[in-house]
Each structure stands twice: as C-alpha cells, then as structure tokens.
C-alpha cells in the first residue's frame, strides 16, 4: 500500500469575520494553484447556494484539494456565522492551520476574535493576513496594531494581501507550506476519521466529508459511525476537487469524501468518528456533540391544503441540513403545522426563505422562542420549546432561561449606546476593553430570548452598522418570566403568545398591540387587539371598522385597470390567515420581531 508522505500535506482553513474576503481569497488560491483555470472560475466557487451568495455568507462547509510544488494543500471551508459555531469547530478540528483574514478597512471584528479563539482552542497554527489593502479606506497600520496588541501576533508574522487583485497570494501559499505543520497520525493504526461536513445528493445519497486522523480507509470497507452506532459500507471514497475524484484508499492526514449506503443525513453527524467494523478504534475522537437546537418556531401553511407540501418540503430540506429539527404540532389558531428547531435566528430565517422560495409555500412563521426550563411545584422539571405548552402558573415554581455571553466590538463613540441597549435587553455588564483609542470590546451576559428578538438589528442601528457581535452559551439562569397572550377579536391567538420578563410585559404588550393594529387590515367590523397575562388584560388597541371602500369611477376605459386592482385586493386576501372572523397577514405573526421598527 502506498501512503502519501504526511510531510507533504497541509490541511488548513480560512477564518474571518463576515465580508472580510474569505470566499474571494479561496478563489485566488484555487487559481494560483491551477486547481481551477481562470476561465472556469465562477466567482466565489465555494459558496454554492444562492442564498449564501445573496447574504454573503457560507453556510455549508466544503473542502478542496490543491496540488502545488509536490505539496497537497487541503482547503477546508468553514461556515461564517455564529449560529454554526459547532460546525466551525469541527472544520477547524480537521485542520492543522488557519489563515486569519482581517479586512484592512474594518480591523478586528467580533467573529474575528471568536474564530481566533476557536482556532486557538483547536491548537491550530494561525497565519494572520490583512486583506483588502488595495481599498482607498484601508488602514493597514491600524489592522496590524490590532493583530499585534489584541491577538498577540508578531509584526513579521503578518501578511498583506488583496484577494480581489490577486496580490500576496503566492506569499500566503508559501506561508501555509512553511508554517502550518504537516498532519500527524498513524496510517497503520485503527481507523479514526472525523466527519466535518456532509450533504445529501439526490443521485448519490449522503456524501460525507472527512479527515482521516489515524489509520487507512479503503474502498469497500465496512464502517461504523461511533456516535450513532450505525454501520455502512464505503462504496466510494476519494478526494475533492471541484468534482469528486475516486480513490482506492485514504490514509491518515488526508481529507476526502465517503459515499456509503447512507440515506439519512442525520446518520452522519458532523463531529462523529468513522471507524472500521473490523478492528475498530478503541474510542472516538473527542469533541462530538449531538445537535442541540437553540431557537424554535412554528411553521404553518397559510392554506391548510398545503400541509402535505410543507411536510415534504421540510423533509427535503432536512436531507441536507441535519441541524434542522422538526415535529408536527397543532395550533388552535393556525391548524396543523410543524414545530421547528434551529441553531440560531439566521438558520431559522434561511430555512423560512428556502421553504418560501424553493418550494413556493405560503408560510406563517410564529414568534421564535428559546427553550425554557420550567421547575414545577411537584419538583419535576419541564423543557418548554413552545410558549403554549407552559403549564398553569399555579404549577410553576420557577422558570429558567438560557443565557449567552455576548461580545460586541464597536467604535468608541457608540459605547454608551451599546451599553444602554444591552441594559435595556436585561443584560448584565461584564467587561469593557479598549482595543485602541477608537475601538472597544464590550462584554455582557444576556438572555438568549432577548438576543434572538431584534437585538442584532438594534445593535446595527444604534452603531450605524459599525458594531459586530459574537456569543457563546453559558447555561440557564432563573428569571421572572410570564406568558403574554394576544387576543384578536377577543379570541386568544396561541401562535402569537410569547414568554417575556415580567418587568417588560407591559411594554411588549403595548408595542405588540400597536404593531398588530398596523399589520392587520381593516374589516367590516371593528377588531379589538389585546394583550393579557393569565387572563388579565394589560394593553388594548382597536382596528377601526372599514366603512367605505368603493371605486368611485369605472367607465369604458377603466375596466381592465380596475379589474387588476380588484384582483390585487383579492390576492392580498388569499395571503392571509383567517382566524375566527379576522384575516391576519403573515407579517403579523412576526410582529414581535419588529416591535421597535
């Protein structure tokens, strides 16, 4: 058997804050190593989903093998958003080195630091690169000083580049070869391969991306996934260029893919260890975590008949998104739908958009919420992922909610505004640190529930878009929480209920009712909108009855145009959900997310 010389392999990734140029740099590396010819280049090859391109983020990791001066350079892409921090950590665990990319016009941002910490935690060799030095607003010295003062790099370690213009690319590749250590591992040992990504292909089934840590994987091997205990056969293995390149074996240090008879992506968890059924590894690689959704909401079809379509669509999405959790649920107001769990709010929004766009489903998403720990008077503890399931107040001893440690990077002049916002959102001040006279890092502990609702938008708005944030989970804390119910035309609408801190209940109740009055169209009768806690009304607004709505003029030349107007009016109605006698538009169900807009 021929083993690739380990010292000719470099496994690395690029880590950066969003929009600091990660995808563009990846493109240049592929070009420079002639892995892909310039003429074949589609901008930003590694981002394949439309939504990723649109939002400028990379959701699913991929890997690509480059060959350069008899070295094998495996570039492993990482998701660029904090919702996917566990996936990021697994991608990092598959590498020995990381390029830390910093935008010369922005300097260090929240995710720069978060990713840096993750990379450090994985013992990676980190190569700092200041990108976008060609831009007129580039402040290379500022970025350099931040890298030196905040992250402790030495001045001579820092590379300069403009990925857009192709400057500094050769130096980056040389640095990867010179500084990133080759992988270690024993090709003769029992097989341990780390799954760092997987995706579902409708022709080939689940394609697993893995890094062989120890041992050798051969085509035809019977394999076992140590986390789930499931067994499969390695029908095809190989390395990754822009397409799959089949090979007979992959050995320690290498990065590649595996196609087995795996039908369900949930069977190939990111972070799981692949071993052989015969002579298995004694233990899995450490760091495996089962997926834990952080944010939940209900998805309901506007038209009841679309329920089956919604079910099939969610199933299809889940084929490629093991982190998407769902189960059927019923709402008194909305009928049959699904309770879905997500890694974070971005994950939720992307899923919602894909259902709407790719599957063309008229969808209502209910107010997102976190998982509450409810301690009952009978000493039992419930985990509640849906406000409507909250037991009667008399049975509740206390409620706990998940907290985050949130780091916010902001220009110094907005420190006051950020602190006001964080306090407003029930934050506890932890720390304030100046990176330089112009920029500060503020740390707060905040309830996750407050962060998922409009926090990021508000942060951007109070800092004119300059702040960035990152967070980590720090467990549950007790809080004085109550369920706020919304009544429309005197009927409680369960899908609009949410859990809120008692001190904020009046504020939210008032804002919610005001917001709903704007979102819900006038009817032929007046519609009261109320907020209540445990049956007690705390806020009320009224949607005035529509009394006059008629086209004054309609003659021979108007008919086609007026018909279109009427058709539009009718279409608008179709997009609304009828609850009792009241038609409620989709937007209303997310009113709580836009309370301050």
């Amino acid at each position: 058997m021929v083993f690739i010389m380990l010292d000719r392999i470099r496994n690395f990734c690029i880590i950066a804050h969003i929009d600091h140029g990660k995808s563009t740099l990846a493109d240049r590396l592929l070009e420079h190593t002639r892995t892909i010819e310039k003429r074949d280049m589609r901008a930003q090859v590694l981002d394949t989903m439309d939504l990723e391109r649109e939002r400028g983020i990379t959701i699913k990791a991929q890997a690509i093998r480059m060959e350069y001066n008899s070295y094998i350079l495996n570039l492993i892409d990482t998701p660029g958003h904090v919702d996917f921090s566990y996936e990021v950590s697994r991608s990092l665990a598959a590498c020995e080195g990381a390029l830390l990319l910093v935008d010369a016009t922005q300097g260090i941002e929240a995710q720069t630091l978060a990713n840096y910490n993750l990379a450090l935690h994985s013992n990676l060799t980190i190569i700092p690169v200041i990108n976008k030095i060609d831009l007129p607003g580039a402040e290379v010295e500022m970025a350099r000083n931040e890298l030196i003062n905040t992250l402790g790099f030495k001045a001579d370690e820092i590379l300069l580049a403009s990925a857009k213009e192709g400057r500094g690319i050769a130096e980056i590749i040389e640095a990867v070869i010179a500084r990133v250590p080759p992988p270690q591992g024993d090709p003769q040992a029992p097989l341990q391969a780390l799954i760092f990504d997987s995706h579902y292909d409708s022709y080939r089934g689940v394609i697993v991306y893995l890094r062989i840590v120890n041992g050798t994987l051969n085509k035809g091997d019977k394999i076992r996934l140590m986390g789930t205990g499931k067994e499969f056969e390695a029908l095809e293995i190989g390395t990754l260029k822009l397409e799959l390149i089949p090979r007979d074996s992959l050995s320690a240090g290498e990065v590649g893919y595996l196609i087995g008879n795996i039908k369900n992506i949930a069977d190939a968890h990111v972070g799981d260890t692949v071993t052989r059924t015969r002579a298995p590894a004694p233990a899995p690689l450490h760091g495996y975590q089962p997926i834990k959704p952080m944010v939940f909401c209900g998805f309901y079809p506007i038209n009841g008949e679309d329920y089956e379509l919604l079910k099939e669509s969610i199933e299809k999405l889940q084929l490629n998104d093991a982190a998407l959790f769902y189960e059927p649920e019923t709402s008194a107001a909305l009928g049959f739908g699904y309770r879905c769990g997500f890694l974070g709010l971005l994950h939720l929004e992307i899923t919602q958009q894909r259902l709407t766009r790719e599957f063309n489903i008229g969808l209502i998403a209910t107010t997102p919420n976190v998982v509450y720990k409810v301690n009952l008077t009978n000493k039992k503890t419930l985990l509640i992922d849906n406000p409507t399931k909250l037991p009667d107040l008399s049975e509740i001893e206390s409620i706990e909610e998940p907290y985050l440690k949130v780091s916010i990077f902001t220009p110094a002049e907005y420190v006051g505004a950020v602190m006001t916002l964080a306090t407003d959102k029930r934050g506890t001040y932890i720390n304030l640190e100046y990176l330089d006279p112009k920029r500060a890092m503020i740390t707060y502990e905040l309830p996750l529930a407050e962060v998922i609702i409009e926090f990021h938008d508000l942060l951007k708005s109070v800092t004119r878009g300059y702040a960035s944030m990152d967070y980590e989970q720090i467990g549950y804390r007790p809080s004085d929480l109550v369920k706020l119910d919304i009544l429309i035309n005197s009927e409680p609408v369960d899908a609009l209920s949410f859990i809120v801190h008692r001190d904020r209940a009046y504020y939210y109740g008032k804002k919610m009712t005001e917001r709903l009055v704007e979102e819900i169209p006038q009817h032929q009768f007046s519609v009261p909108v109320q907020a209540a806690i445990g049956g007690k009304i705390i806020a009320r607004e009224t949607i005035k009855a529509r009394r006059k709505d008629v086209l004054a003029k309609c003659y021979g030349g108007d008919i086609t145009r007026k018909r279109k107007l009427l058709e539009k009016q009718k279409e608008g109605k179709k997009k609304m959900k009828l609850i009792g006698r009241v038609e409620i538009p989709q937007e209303a169900f997310l009113a709580v997310l836009r309370i301050n807009q």
Binding site: Q524, V550, L551, Y555, I559, E567
Partner: protein, 367 residues
C-alpha cells in the same frame, strides 16, 4: 348594437388629480387628429355616441362636423334627406369644460346634433377649484351652464367631486345645494381618487402625515357620500349607479352600456374598445396614434373579457344584475348575502346600502 366613444385628448391645462389620457399644449395636432379619428370610425350603426376627454369642447364646430359626417349614415333621418340630421332618440354626449366654449359655439354644437352635455364643474368653491388645478372659477361654470341651456341643451350632467383636500362636510353640502339650484337632468358625484402619476399622488399619497392630514378621513368621506345620496334623492334624483344620479328618464344610456358590459368601439388615442367579448385599446400617445394604421388590432393584442367583468360592472348599478348571470358564483353570492353586502330583489341581485359603501369588497369576490 355598439356604442361609440370618441376620445379628445386635448386640454388647456392638465388638472392636478387627472390621470386620463390628455395633453396640454398639443393643440397644433388637432386637425390631423380629427382627420385620423374620422377615418377610424366605421360606417356602421351605433347605439349612443360619447365625446370624452380631455376637453372635447376645445374642438371647433367644424371638427365635430367632420367626425359626425362619417357616422352620419347611421342616423340619417328615415326620409333619406341626408345631411347631419340626427335621430331624436340617439344620445350624443360631449364632455365640456367651463370656459372653453361660448354660447354661440354651444349653439352650433347643438345644431350639429349633440344633445347631451356633461359639464366638469367639480366644485362651486373657488379655493377648491384652484387646488384641483381647474382653469375656471364657480362663476364661469354657472355662466357656462346658462349658455348651454340657452343654446338648446335640455339634457345636462354636472360632474362634482367630494372629499377634496381640506373640504368640510358643510362645504360639500353647499356644493350640492348650488348644483340642485341649477336643476340639471343628471349629476355625477365622485369621491376624489388619488391616482398614481398625478400631482395629487405626489402631494397626498406620500406617507408624510402633514400632507395626508388635509384629506378627509374615511368617516368624513362616508358622511359626504351619504349626504350626497340623501340630498339628491330627496330632490328628485334617482340614484342609479354608485356615483350617478338622474331625473326620471335621464340616465346616461352610453354609460349604462359600460356597466352592462355591452359592446363599444373607442376611437382616438388611448380609447378602449370592447366588442363581442374582446377588449383592446389604442396607443395613448397622440403621435403614435397618428401613425397607428390598423382599424382592428390583431387578435393577440386583445384581451378576452368574461363573466367576472359582467358581474363587477353590473353590480355598480343600483338595480343590480339578473340572478342567472351569477351561475357558478353561488358560494360568493351566499357569503355576500350573509355578510349583508348583497341582496335579492325580484330576479336580480343588488348591492345593499352597506354593500354600496364597501363595493370593492363585493367586486373583488367576483374577479
């Protein structure tokens, strides 16, 4: 039979609320335009004729003569004398704007066979007339009306608009009172609609509360509309369409044909036609219209009309529409009846009073 609509897209000045096809400052093209119009009219029988605008009264009598000559065959007197003799029963209307014709000109028009005038008075309040961008004041409108009467017009409509920016209910009542005092045969009262592409749209449809503030609220609009209905019916006008009122026997036959979804041929720039289930329209631009050669457009540029249009147009008439026309819409009918928006009357379905105010919600159910 088919009605004939003749569009005259010329105005001295464009009003601030108007989104019709009409242009100010293009009067030099009138001669060519009229020649084109005359050529576009086929030699066939028409049930009614309507000159709309724009401002038809900007045309000279000779223009009307030139156009009517071409349709003259359709209403030449039975004795076959020829010339421009009109059948007494044939309704020939022209829209007219105060200040664009004197008594002499009106007399000539009457002699050419025009027998109905629809005068754009809009308001008797000079301040509101100015806001609307009209070229005349109230006194001019009254004089024009008197001139039309002495010119021999015994079938006159006045157009009025309510819910004007800053208008009070008392001001609207005064407008109605002055209109009634003039004793026209017909009144059209329109709730102001702020149309896209007009100066009013720029001014009032913006979300700035300070500009929206001056428009009457929905409740005020409704009060004005109710007042109009009560006042006019109390004074002997029959309310026969959402915005139209007439003395007995003086309804506008030409317009009723639109609401009954009948056939009509529209000639001139931007004019719409509806014949045997198909709709089409001419180019809006005068220059383009002058170049436009085909009399009937090719099939693919026509749009099929259908029962839905018959229903939403027919329900604009207060008598409503024969029940058998609603075949296939039984669910909608029963829902609307339950909501109190529609009612049966004899073998007709018609809007209730509530349905009249919320007409769009009824119409939208049928499109």
């Amino acid at each position: 039979m088919t009605a004939l609509y003749i569009h005259i897209p010329f105005c001295q000045r464009k009003c601030n609320y108007c989104d019709f096809v009409s242009y100010a400052g293009k009067e030099v093209t009138i001669d060519a335009y009229v020649a084109k119009l005359a050529a576009e009219i086929p030699n066939t029988e028409f049930s009614t004729i309507f000159f709309g605008g724009g401002t038809p009264t900007l045309l000279e009598p000779r223009h009307f003569e030139q156009i009517l000559k071409n349709v003259a065959a359709t209403f030449r007197s039975p004795s076959g004398h020829g010339g421009l003799k009109t059948a007494a029963t044939l309704e020939i209307t022209a829209e007219a704007n105060p200040g664009t014709a004197n008594q002499k000109k009106l007399r000539e028009l009457r002699q050419l066979g025009l027998n109905r005038l629809s005068i754009g008075v809009q308001s008797f309040n000079d301040q509101h007339l100015q806001t609307l961008g009209r070229i005349h004041d109230a006194a001019t409108a009254k004089r024009f009306y008197a001139d039309a009467r002495s010119a021999g017009f015994d079938n006159i409509n006045l157009d009025l608009i309510f819910a004007l920016p800053g208008q009070t209910l008392a001001e609207w009542k005064a407008d109605l009172q002055q209109a009634i005092e003039l004793n026209p045969e017909h009144l059209s009262v329109y709730n102001l609609q702020i149309e896209e592409g007009t100066p009013f749209w720029e001014r009032y449809a913006s979300s700035l509360p300070v500009t929206r503030y001056s428009l009457p609220t929905e409740d005020e609009e409704l009060a004005m509309y109710e007042t109009a209905i009560e006042t006019l019916t109390a004074n002997g006008y029959h309310h026969y369409e959402i915005s139209n009122f007439a003395r007995p026997g003086r309804v506008c036959l030409h317009n009723i044909n639109y609401w009954r979804n009948g056939n009509y041929l529209g000639v001139g720039a931007g004019a719409h036609s509806h014949i045997n289930g198909q709709r089409w329209s001419n180019p809006n631009c005068i220059e383009e219209y002058l170049q436009h050669s085909t009399r009937m457009p090719p099939n693919d540029s026509r749009v099929a009309t259908d029962q839905r249009e018959t229903l939403f147009l027919g329900l604009r008439l207060l008598d409503g529409l024969e029940q058998d026309k609603f075949t296939g819409f039984e669910t909608e009918v029963s829902e609307l009846m339950k909501e109190g928006l529609l009612e049966a009357a004899g073998n007709y379905y018609r809007l209730t009073r509530k349905g009249l105010y919320l007409g769009n919600q009824v119409f939208a159910r049928f499109v």
